[in-house]
């Protein structure tokens, strides 16, 4: 009985705090993305050949965790299969945040373009499905500054 109560409290707390944090994060992501749109990041491997550029490796990473409510919902979803949208938003937030941090670094360098952007996603909480999922997203690329 006690255990059910603890889980219920955690789920409720997770729902309210997690939802608020996620909303705030998405608003800040959208705002910063608008500003950073002037610095395009590309997956292409070939930079334009008409100019000489100074190059620098830039990267951004973020470790992000799901709240208790979402993990609980995902656990239920696992029984029936199908789309787990609570994890989709987690990965979406992680990727966008990592790219923004990479672009921050590129901007400090004074770059106009970021080329050959690669993503790397890894789960740090291991393969144990009872544990809370924690993921790390690392984005890196080459910042180009006109000489």
């Amino acid at each position: 009985m006690d255990q059910i109560l603890i889980v219920a409290v955690l789920v409720t707390l997770g729902y309210f705090f997690g939802r608020r944090a996620e909303k705030k994060h998405f608003i800040s992501l959208i705002e910063r993305e608008k500003v950073m749109n002037q610095l395009p990041a590309m997956a292409s491997r070939m930079p334009p050949q008409d100019n000489r550029y100074e190059q620098k490796l830039v990267s951004g990473n973020v470790v992000i965790a799901n709240d208790y409510f979402k993990t609980f919902v995902a656990g239920l979803r696992n029984l029936f299969g199908g789309k787990i949208s609570t994890y989709e938003t987690l990965l979406d937030r992680g990727r966008r945040e990592a790219v923004l941090r990479m672009k921050d670094q590129a901007q400090q360098f004074g770059a106009e373009l970021v080329f050959n952007v690669k993503y790397e996603t890894s789960s740090i909480s291991g393969q144990d499905s009872r544990k809370m999922p924690i993921i790390e997203v690392h984005a890196y690329g080459t910042a180009l500054k006109k000489l």
Binding site: G14, V63, I64, A65, N66, I124, G126
Partner: protein
């Protein structure tokens, strides 16, 4: 030392290829700052302590790669790739590798 994940430096020629150089670093997840992260984990969001930990780990791996590149006489490392692998639930390995080259011109 110039580091890039493109396969060339714009406007400069590779005069000599010196082969693969690499660096790695293994760090444990539970490193003192873990308690706060555990609490934060309940409510979701970013775990700043881990972000920094992995950032430092990556810097160290890169530093080791650069050291190796220097010892073979390179002045740039091109086509750099990162990889992360979880060894156990508690530790992650960061591995970074690239091609050491000598570029013409001065830095």
């Amino acid at each position: 030392m110039l580091i890039s994940n493109l396969e060339f430096m714009t406007g400069r020629k590779v005069t000599k290829h010196l082969g693969l150089v690499q660096g790695s670093s293994v760090r444990a997840k539970h490193a003192g700052r873990d308690i706060m992260s555990g609490i934060k984990n309940m409510f979701g969001g970013e775990l700043t302590a881990y972000t920094e930990l992995l950032q430092e780990s990556r810097e160290e791996a890169t530093e080791r790669m650069i050291e190796q590149a220097r010892s073979v006489g390179a002045n740039a490392v091109l086509n750099v790739r990162f990889s992360t692998s979880s060894i156990t639930a508690g530790a992650a390995e960061i591995y970074v590798y690239g091609t050491a080259v000598i570029l013409d011109g001065d830095d």
